[in-house]
Amino acid sequence: MPIHEKNLIKKGDLIQKEKAELEGIDVSGQWNTFMKPRVVPDYNTRVLREIASTPMGSTITKCWQCGTCTAGCCMHTDFGLREFNPRYFIYLAQKGAEDELKQYADVIWRCVTCNKCVERCPKGVRVEEVIHAIENYMHAKGMMNDTPARRWDKQFLENVLEAGVLDELMLVYKYIRQEKVQEFDMNYMMKFGFKLFKTGRVRTGPLRRRVKGWKKVRNVAMEILEKGGEKP
């Protein structure tokens, strides 16, 4: 049986016995799977308080650690990225273990916002929002660097703020240029662009749709962003 919570077992402790027999009984498999003692005497409640005070993270206090979110999680179960464990992230945030959270800096951003966890949570925790609130907390405290997804989100917002609606082609083009995504080379982009041109769907750059009177709305949006401490 695979061990789902490998991260709770001390590195090097795990023993794999391909063929073991004890008094005629087959006992091969994984041995010494004891979890690390997890008695935490010094809870740091500040982390929980700070996350729970944000609108996205407000439901974190309802979590009972049942793990329903993780059992169905697209990333954890379907994609098979076992380190992506929303229940555990919430656990770490609840006990304020910043150092341990930091180890998941390159995992936690991979949530694809499918909301299966929110749908299934028996306690009404909006898990997906809470995970993003934890991620935002980690960003604010400098516990993680900009991730590809966050750079994408920033470009998305910048793109929308320009005219009110999204210019999909420009967004993808700029992002691919910036991140140097190998897969979409010039050849691919030309083929894709030609197809769009042939079917009359090139609405980018000067041809993009613009919201009438967007300037006024944009100013409000900028004000909201400034209040949130986010400079686009």
Partner: protein, 300 residues
């Protein structure tokens, strides 16, 4: 004047043109009148919410106010992501008086009217099912899609989460975990829907370009499940999911197998064909997959 306000969203005006046009012809044929929201803006999708909460409520709320000013009580959106963020904003204003006050303050500054959270957003699939239903489609079908096996792919945010969409909590809404509306509509159009286990799995579209491993992995899983179930084509209902899966076909061929590739079409394109429209009416040539050739060979 219709009580339904149509919110196309950014995708339907660009890459998802085929979805817009086919939805238009299907709704017209079924006698469902919708009025398009004029001068709508981006709903912020799932991207803005990670950067700024207030802005992720403000952007969709502006559209809801526009719909309210049109005299509509329900917004219809064709994109799962739009349904999600519009309903999410509505719910936030409904349940939190602090947020309501704050957002209304911003709306006033932007020259918009007040909003209290009283407009629900339905997916166009729900609207078609509820207002026309399989019976009406069956009676209007001119060219049944007989013999075509279709794998319906609903995607993630259509019914999820029920706190926003009210799925399974109100009459006339789809089942939140095992949706069936698209299957019954496709069946009514003469095709045979196949059962497969990944109807509501994520397509990886949220990180379509920023996390290629996830995006290609999920798209391949959907293609594979459809192929294993014996489907000839995959029917989608979200412009992001559709473009994401189609765009990953090259990568799936390279990394997995070219035997599992199936043409991908919008469910409205299928309904449009069954209702007697031509391939160019539903813009099948727009699809990056081999959908156009598939239906040409079938005699459509």
């Amino acid at each position: 004047m219709s009580d339904l306000a149509f919110y196309p969203g950014c995708s339907l005006d660009g890459l998802g043109k085929a979805y817009e046009k086919s939805t238009e012809v299907v709704l017209r044929d079924l006698g469902i009148r919708v009025d398009t929201i004029d001068n709508y803006n981006c709903c912020g999708a799932t991207e803005v919410k990670t950067l700024n909460y207030d802005l992720s409520i403000f952007l969709p709320t502006r559209n809801l106010v526009l719909a309210k000013e049109m005299g509509s009580r329900t917004v219809v959106a064709a994109c799962n992501g739009c349904v999600f963020s519009l309903n999410r904003a509505n719910q936030a204003l409904l349940e939190n008086s602090g947020t309501r006050e704050k957002i209304n303050g911003y709306l006033k500054k932007a020259g918009m009217g007040e909003y209290g959270g009283d407009i629900h957003t339905d997916h166009v699939l729900e609207v078609i099912y509820r207002r026309a239903g399989p019976e009406k489609i069956r009676s209007l079908v001119k060219k049944p899609l007989s013999g075509i096996k279709v794998a319906a792919y609903y995607g993630c945010l259509y019914t999820r989460p029920k706190v926003y969409t009210r799925a399974g909590l109100e009459e006339g809404r789809d089942n939140p975990e095992h949706p069936f509306f698209m299957d019954s509509l496709i069946e009514a159009a003469g095709a045979s829907p196949v059962d497969h286990p990944v109807k509501t799995i994520c397509c990886g579209g949220g990180h379509a370009v920023s996390d290629r491993e996830v995006s290609v992995g999920f798209s391949a899983a959907i293609m594979n499940a459809a192929a294993q179930a014996g489907a000839d084509i995959i029917a989608t209902m979200c412009p992001l999911g559709h473009v994401n899966i189609e765009n990953n076909i090259t990568a799936i061929e390279k990394q997995y197998s070219n035997k599992i590739i199936r043409p991908v079409v919008y469910f409205t394109q299928l309904l449009g064909l069954a209702l007697g429209h031509s391939r160019s009416d539903v813009r099948l040539a727009d699809n990056l997959s081999d959908a156009d050739r598939f239906f040409a060979e079938k005699g459509f």
